[in-house]
């Protein structure tokens, strides 16, 4: 039986008569002529073995939405997971703007035909610059891991040194990325934390610092949720040895916390996912890197940097690439690392978020998160056998909850919470065995008092 010809809605010239006419105009007998350079022995001599197509949009919708409907979301369950991906409220305007077809489907046009893309990204970097109190911010890289790895590489190039000092209380996945990225050129040494306060062990740092040290890196808040309160001392120690201070920061904290530039950071990096970007099963990340406006820093960025410039018409804002010759687009392997498609749409989205929030919104969201997290810590701390937090230090939105004295493992507890419609905190027992049966809980502005009390009651039952 002859196969029915399909006209594909996404492929205008799939109409057989059109195809035939185009072939005729090209003087071609068949499509075969166009593939003449591909040797027969490299040709696939059969159709691809793929599932049968769902040609109509309705069939496709039934199938894909049917698969997706098997997921249970953080709107349906009560979620206390964070650990690098955060559930915050996403303002409707963020989704509205990043769904605009003009932004969604643009790519790499010139600063004339894509003026709006350049301006939106320049405004994103400008608002990040205010949040961070730094004058240079890149067009986003892939994610916070990449931002940290590149920030450390930049520090090594700037100082001409080959060793970086990282906190041991870092997310092991992030450390894995940094190790992979720095392997060819740099040595990584880990600095321990004070078991009581979680703060970076400054004595150990002092001993580890040397004229080989390119950078000291730490995070605020730290991976384990507490705030590192000795930034000024750490950066001073680094600077004494001629090293740079690189700080990873969660930008949503900066309405209330001092930005790293305020305690001596030379390069600041992090992830913009908390700023108006949905979690998307970990698919919503974008990385930022920020520095002072000094040539020796600027020339080491691998990323696109968009700058503002005049046009030939007075009063017109123009934009363009700053110091393009740095990049691999201009100089291939002689450029700094590489640049390519990364996370521009999330940059625009984070800009929309900051524009919506304003100074007041950022202060309120930061304070509100801290209040809720503290409330949660106080309530959980009243449960018998539960220690919270493990570290005596101020916390932002995440905190450690230790269950050693309950006789139950985090895995057991989380299974029981799941049955009650709750995603308990991240199990830390494998990543940080010295913390025993501890979990990393995250509370943000999306949690109400009732949500927190529901968790407490569920734990009460589970631990009974």
């Amino acid at each position: 039986m002859a196969q029915k010809t399909v006209v594909y809605p996404y492929i205008p010239n799939s109409v057989p008569q059109v195809k035939a006419q185009m072939l005729r105009e090209l003087g071609a007998e068949s499509m075969e002529e166009f593939y003449a350079d591909i040797p027969q022995e490299l040709r696939l001599q059969r159709p691809l073995d793929l599932p049968p197509p769902l040609l109509s949009e309705y069939e496709l919708r039934r199938h894909v939405q049917g698969l997706l409907n098997r997921n249970r979301t953080c709107q349906e369950y009560l979620n206390f997971l964070g650990a690098g991906c955060y559930q915050h409220d996403v303002p409707a305007v963020c989704d509205e703007v990043n769904a605009r077809g003009e932004f969604l489907t643009a790519y790499a046009g010139e600063p004339y035909d894509d003026h709006g893309r350049f301006q939106a990204l320049f405004e994103y970097t400008s608002m990040m610059g205010e949040l961070l109190e730094m004058d240079v911010v890149n067009v986003p890289t892939y994610d916070g891991y990449q931002a940290a790895a590149t920030a450390l590489s930049m520090a090594a190039r700037i100082t001409g040194r080959e060793e970086v000092l990282l906190p041991r209380a870092i997310c092991p996945d992030k450390l894995s990325k940094i190790q992979d990225y720095l392997r060819p050129d740099l040595t990584i040494r880990l600095i321990d934390y004070d078991p009581r306060t979680g703060q970076l062990d400054r004595e150990a740092l002092r001993r580890a610092l040397s004229p080989q040290t390119a950078a000291v890196y730490f995070e605020n808040p730290s991976y384990l949720g507490y705030i590192e309160c000795h930034g000024a001392e750490i950066s001073a120690l680094a600077h004494e040895q001629g090293a740079l201070c690189v700080v990873g920061v969660d930008p949503i904290t900066l309405g209330v916390l001092t930005p790293p530039a305020g305690y001596g950071a030379d390069i600041v990096c992090g992830d913009i996912q908390p700023l108006g970007i949905h979690m998307q099963y970990g698919g919503g990340h974008g990385g930022f890197i920020a520095t002072r406006d000094e040539e020796r820093f600027v020339m080491e960025y691998p990323s696109r940097l968009f700058g503002i410039a005049p046009t030939c018409v007075p009063g017109e804002y123009g934009f363009g690439d700053v110091a393009y010759e740095r990049t691999s687009f201009a100089r291939r392997e002689e450029g700094k690392e590489w640049v390519g498609t990364a996370a521009a749409l999330w940059g625009i989205t984070a800009g929309v978020y900051l524009a919506l929030m304003g100074p007041q919104g950022m202060a309120e969201v930061g304070e509100g998160i801290m209040a809720r997290a503290r409330y949660a810590m106080m309530q959980l701390g009243r449960l018998p056998g539960v220690r919270v937090p493990l570290f005596q230090a101020p916390h932002f939105q995440e905190f450690t909850v230790n269950f050693d004295a309950t006789g139950k493992t985090v895995a057991e507890i989380n299974r029981a919470l799941l049955q009650r419609g709750i995603f308990g905190g991240k199990d830390l027992s494998r990543e940080f065995p010295e913390l025993g049966q501890s979990a990393l809980y995250c509370v943000t502005e999306v949690h109400t008092r009732e949500d927190i009390l529901r968790l407490v009651e569920a734990l009460q039952e589970v631990l009974r």
């Binding site: 010239n13 006419q21 185009m22 350079d37 591909i38 490299l42 040709r43 696939l44 159709p47 793929l50 919708r61 894909v64 098997r70 997921n71 991906c85 303002p91 003009e102 489907t105 643009a106 046009g109 010139e110 035909d113 990204l121 400008s126 608002m127 109190e133 730094m134 004058d135 240079v136 892939y142 996945d173 894995s176 992979d180 930034g231 001092t258 305690y263 979690m279 998307q280 099963y281 970990g282 990340h285 700058g307 018409v313 009063g315 123009g318 110091a323 590489w338 390519g340 498609t341 625009i348 929309v352 524009a355 919506l356 929030m357 100074p359 919104g361 309120e364 209040a371 799941l418 995603f423």
Partner: protein
């Protein structure tokens, strides 16, 4: 009776060029719109009971950690924010608006709207990556199924989706090649990576970042990668080959299997940058040419939108031999349930957080499911047919050539040269592009270095109709004619775009460049 309006829209039976003018809102920078006290979004308030119990939570911070004054962000009401960004969106020429064949190598195809609905479903957006696997079986199944599809398209044995775009996948391939040689005790020795000048700049740059010395092969006089140059380059120091095919010229290297064989004989691995896969889907496969690794850009070939430059996704496939080195975790299926497999002792570890850019994976899966095997082949064939049709129309314009492979067809794109027109008129390729913007289309010269003089690269994909291809060629023909008759109009373009010719000098001057508004205010001072 009134006059037939359509009469004026055609000339010699063909539609006249559009009297395009892009939106020009003269939109201020957001900071200029700020008015003290305005609010665009209210944060959920902290309940009284919480407030009563925790007190002044900021007082728990040491003074040095407490931000002394709020960040100097703009203060706006919500309608102002929306209007501002909608105006900027109107000043951006997305693929949804234009005949986007001018951004060669980028595969600017149509991104189906139904797939956008899937990607934006709460069933995708509201998932946390650490949720219990039992609650994410749907999304894991989609990722698993997408892997099976790409295995069949490439012939490879296993895929990771962790790299967050094409260049990240290229880097990951280089990192895996490094791990492979290290596992065989040859890590120190094999420190050279070979690529070609018509492969993407990232094939060279990522290899260098991963620690390799880069050897770049230039084409022979017909534009094919030079196999003699390859023979001269390979040695016991060869770690591998990272190469595009067809190259950015749209020319397929017919000796690709020989290239791979020679590198294998020297003990190297071969990585296939499949950024240019759109014309060969279902025609030829990476594995069949002997490659050990390959990657696809799901935001190009597999229709996910480009998002102003990401998020994208780099799907990276390998043979059984390289599988142990893939980043972790991988999505696996035990016959009953889908799960994340972390038990991979030789893995290079993480190259990015979590499991990849999940909304892009959902769109790519839906796109393939809407087409099937016959549909994918149709994509490839029409992309190639469109490219050759456009090439015929473009080459009818005096002053333009398609260097190399004389008289031969191309695969999915063509690198043209306006050298002849430039010699005749003094008009550069770049200027042709800026004038083309006046007619509502993009145009891209080429990656550097410009081996082809006065280049431009056009890639029509399968998404444009015959008439649209004719319109694009007619725009170029018109601009070429202007270059001869009235070069000033081309050299001062754009005229109908949002803004006029930019003074680039400050962008390369440390004293004047400004990457943020605060830096700009500091450097220029004053103002309105």
């Amino acid at each position: 009776m009134s006059e037939d309006i359509t009469r004026h829209r055609y000339e010699n039976g063909r539609p006249k060029l559009r009297r395009f003018h892009q939106a020009r809102w003269d939109e201020p920078i957001l900071f200029e719109l700020s008015r003290p006290g305005q609010r665009a979004y209210l944060v959920p308030p902290v309940e009284e009971e919480i407030r009563a119990e925790v007190g002044d939570v900021l007082s728990t911070l040491p003074p040095a950690m407490r931000r002394p004054h709020p960040p100097a962000l703009p203060e706006l009401a919500q309608p102002q924010v929306v209007r501002h960004y909608f105006r900027l969106s109107q000043e951006t020429l997305g693929t949804d608006l234009n005949i986007d064949v001018g951004q060669g190598t980028c595969t600017m195809k149509y991104s189906p709207k139904i797939n956008e609905q899937f990607a934006r479903s709460p069933k995708v957006t509201e998932l946390h990556p650490l949720q219990d696997e039992s609650t994410v079986q749907g999304i894991l199944e989609i990722i698993y199924r997408l892997e099976q599809i790409l295995k069949e398209i490439s012939g490879m044995d296993r895929f990771t989706f962790q790299p967050r775009a094409g260049s990240a996948a290229i880097y990951t391939m280089a990192s895996m090649i490094r791990a492979y040689h290290a596992s065989r005790g040859e890590g120190e020795k094999r420190d050279e990576m070979i690529t070609t000048i018509f492969s993407h700049p990232s094939d060279a740059a990522c290899a260098r970042t991963a620690g390799f010395k880069v050897i770049t092969l230039y084409p022979d006089e017909d534009g094919y990668p030079d196999i003699e140059a390859l023979r001269a380059a390979i040695s016991e120091r060869t770690a591998g080959l990272m190469i595009t095919n067809p190259e950015d010229t749209g020319i397929f290297n017919p000796r690709i299997a020989d290239f791979v064989r020679l590198v294998h004989q020297a003990g190297g691995l071969c990585a296939y940058d499949q950024a240019n896969a759109n014309g060969i889907l279902g025609i030829t496969r990476a594995r069949d040419a002997g490659f050990d690794l390959c990657h696809f850009n799901l935001h190009k070939t597999f229709s996910s939108p480009h998002g102003c430059g990401g998020p994208g996704a780099g799907a990276l496939g390998v043979t059984r031999e390289l599988e142990p080195f893939l980043p972790l975790p991988l999505v696996a299926f035990d016959g009953r349930r889908y799960y994340l497999d972390y038990d991979r002792p030789q893995s290079i570890g993480k190259v990015a957080p979590w499991y990849g850019v999940v909304p892009v994976l959902v769109r790519a899966y839906a796109w393939v499911m809407s087409l099937g095997a016959a549909g994918l082949r149709e994509v490839a064939e029409i992309a190639v047919l469109n490219n050759n049709y456009l090439m015929k129309k473009v080459l009818e314009i005096p002053g333009v050539r398609a260097p190399y492979a004389r008289g031969k067809r191309r695969i999915e794109q063509v690198r043209y040269s306006w050298e002849d027109l430039y010699r005749e008129t003094g008009v550069h390729s770049e200027e042709i592009g800026l004038r083309a913007a006046d007619f509502g289309v993009h145009y891209w010269t080429s990656h550097h270095p410009w081996i082809v003089p006065e280049p431009c690269t056009l890639e029509p994909t399968e998404s444009y109709s015959k008439e649209e291809l004719e319109e694009y060629a007619a725009i170029l023909a018109h601009v070429a004619q202007e270059a001869r008759e009235n070069p000033e109009v081309v050299k001062t373009a754009p005229h109908n775009s949002t803004i006029h010719r930019i003074d680039h000098a400050p962008l390369d001057d440390p004293a004047r460049w400004a990457m943020t508004w605060r830096a700009y205010r500091r450097k220029v001072g004053g103002g309105g």
